[in-house]
Symmetry: C2
Subunit: 385 residues, 2 copies
């Protein structure tokens, strides 16, 4: 592109012509990379190209084998009222590259491999002790990658990038030792770009790409597990904020005079509604059998709803996605949560927000690592426009 | 553009060539429209065009008289350590069009006129009674526009658009009678696009374009006046959220058992820290002379800081801008506010946020109306990319 820009544009035509075509092609490739399988109609909408230009571009990309076309279920109707009608669907050529997602969780290490056509080709997980060092966790993940590629006969020569989720905040303005260790070890192993982020934020991104908030403009994600974290996804991208801590809903204060928290705040939501705290008061709280468990869940639901109300009045998201083991308690948690959310939000905010349970399973964060790889390419492309 | 797209791109060259040049030119015009005067260096950074392409594009636009070049103060250094060194600055041709900003405030109607070069060419205001009908307020504003254009010899034939701020929420998903009345009356008068939004949100946008948050990526704005409102500005644009209520910080709950609020919530911040409430308890609170006034301000500052902490943990903004008459009390308000914000935010959030007083005066909302007009052109351009 530089070359064709560097000459006086008025003089030549092949440079600008090629540049324009490249821009159009990249726009098509980016849409498929970030959104997965799309019909031609969806692709036209996504790329904002005229049907004529689009069909010319698609024809070229098909002949280059950059794209593949197949009869499939209309992605627009998938999930809705059963199966969608069969239509012609375009995807990137599955052979075009692979993305690797790794989640180095507190108790569990997950590895998921996808191709650029959004097909998940292999996945596996191993348990690990909470005390496991981070160097050891990375090694366990790399061993798991070897097992998976061997058993599935996958070659990583076409690996496009790796996205890794870790526990704890990943600052954008300061060096995080943990993140650096992970990034360096993994990129040394594969020789491709490696991105590291908080695994709850990656789960939020995955829900916005494949899960409960797929395709929405703005989503708040809250994870209620042994820790309480969250993420904010705007326009299909993770919103980091100035310090990479946007969406830290677990550290919003619910009791101004509460105990101080390692995060630097005090009376943080996490302290009151984490599984660690709740199970200390009622061991089988997830079964919600007795009155004590239900009272604890009612109180937790109210507190979560109050925090979500403050967050919703701030960003007025389309969707609030709630994940983590605590959501297994269903209405015992969600009824008081919804009541508190309604009670403490601006009417305009409450009328427009949809609260829903997370749709993805324990591999959400690893999938989010893959989404990070697939959306970054678009980021780079967009920044050039 | 459609025409050149509608043919098979591979065949012709003038179409794509013209299209590419138009895209580059629009990119340059948009940057100057939204950011105001820029040096060539800043313009290259803003448009992400190579110096060679940029200078060719700028030359064309100068010869078309779409741009003007003048010796000016380097905008990058303006304000910082006194005056900036003189440099060559590019702006849109001031004759290229006008934008009109109107603020229909509770007690005051402001009209401000700017050209597309970000030069404010006329401004005026009139007081009005709180009970004044909205039809009457619009009429007062239109009369003021007539007075200003006559006395300054301004012709509105080149008017590009009007941005109007009104009191109260402006829903994006539902029809707001007040907004409709204003939009219809004003567009009938000028025959140009008219945009209506909440005037506090427009003040937030103005601070992000010309004020205390100029050029930052993310800013939360809070206005502490007879009402308490706010706005969220991301990437130089107002973030509306699903229902147009993003940034409604005045309606975040500070007392879960507090009184219900017309907004639909209860125990809302506005109820505790609005000037209406505070002056009812201490008439000369803005002078902060006696202990009673100071105690009230300490309490108000703490509550505002706690609400800002929740909002900052949610979006982790670069800057928090606080405006409104209550900020005239200075440290009496800001010291407890900052202490509460520090006490209740995640370290990563607190380390990266800067809290500052609003820089613009009572014409902020009217200026925001102008910013809405100038940034919308970019929105449309960006949506085409």
């Amino acid at each position: 592109m530089r070359r064709s820009q560097s000459g006086p544009v008025g003089r030549e035509s092949s440079g600008p012509l090629r540049q324009l075509r490249e821009t159009h092609e990249e726009r098509v490739l980016s849409a498929l990379r970030t959104r997965g399988p799309l019909t031609r109609a969806q692709l036209a909408e996504q790329t904002n190209l005229s049907r004529a230009t689009l069909s010319s571009i698609v024809q070229t990309l098909l002949s280059k084998q950059a794209l593949t076309e197949r009869r499939g279920e209309d992605p627009a109707h998938a999930g809705l009222r059963g199966r969608g009608r069969p239509v012609s669907v375009l995807t990137l050529n599955p052979a075009g590259g692979l993305a690797l997602g790794i989640d180095l969780g507190q108790r569990r290490i997950q590895v998921t491999i996808s191709n650029v056509a959004h097909e998940f080709v292999a996945a596996g997980a191993v348990a690990c002790a909470e005390r496991t060092s981070w160097a050891r966790r990375v090694q366990l993940a790399l061993d798991l990658v070897d097992d998976l590629t061997t058993s599935h006969g996958i070659s990583l020569t076409a690996l496009a990038g790796v996205g890794v989720g870790i526990v704890g905040p990943v600052a954008t303005d300061a060096r995080s030792e943990r993140a650096e260790l992970v990034r360096e070890t993994v990129s040394a192993r594969f020789g491709v770009p490696v991105q590291v982020d908080n695994n709850t934020r990656l789960a939020a991104l995955a829900e916005a790409v494949w899960g409960a908030a797929a395709g929405v403009g703005s989503a708040l994600y809250l994870r209620l597990s042994y820790g309480v974290g969250g993420g904010l996804v705007l326009g299909g991208r993770l919103f980091a904020g100035a310090g990479g801590a946007a969406g830290e809903l677990g550290h919003i204060t619910v009791d101004r005079d509460g105990p101080s928290c390692p995060c630097g705040g005090r009376g943080c939501l996490e302290r009151y509604v984490s599984l660690t705290t709740l199970q200390a008061q009622c061991n089988d709280i997830l079964e919600a059998r007795d009155q004590k468990a239900r009272d604890l869940l009612t109180d937790a639901g109210r507190r979560v709803g109050e925090v979500l109300a403050a967050a919703c009045n701030t960003v007025n998201p389309e969707v609030v996605v709630i994940g983590g083991e605590l959501t297994e308690t269903g209405d015992h948690l969600f009824k008081p949560l919804q009541a508190a959310l309604r009670r403490h939000t601006h009417t305009q905010v409450h009328r427009t927000v949809r609260v829903t349970r997370a749709a993805l399973g324990p591999d959400a964060a690893a999938r989010g690592g893959i989404a990070l790889v697939l959306t970054t390419a678009l980021d780079q492309e967009a920044s050039r426009l």
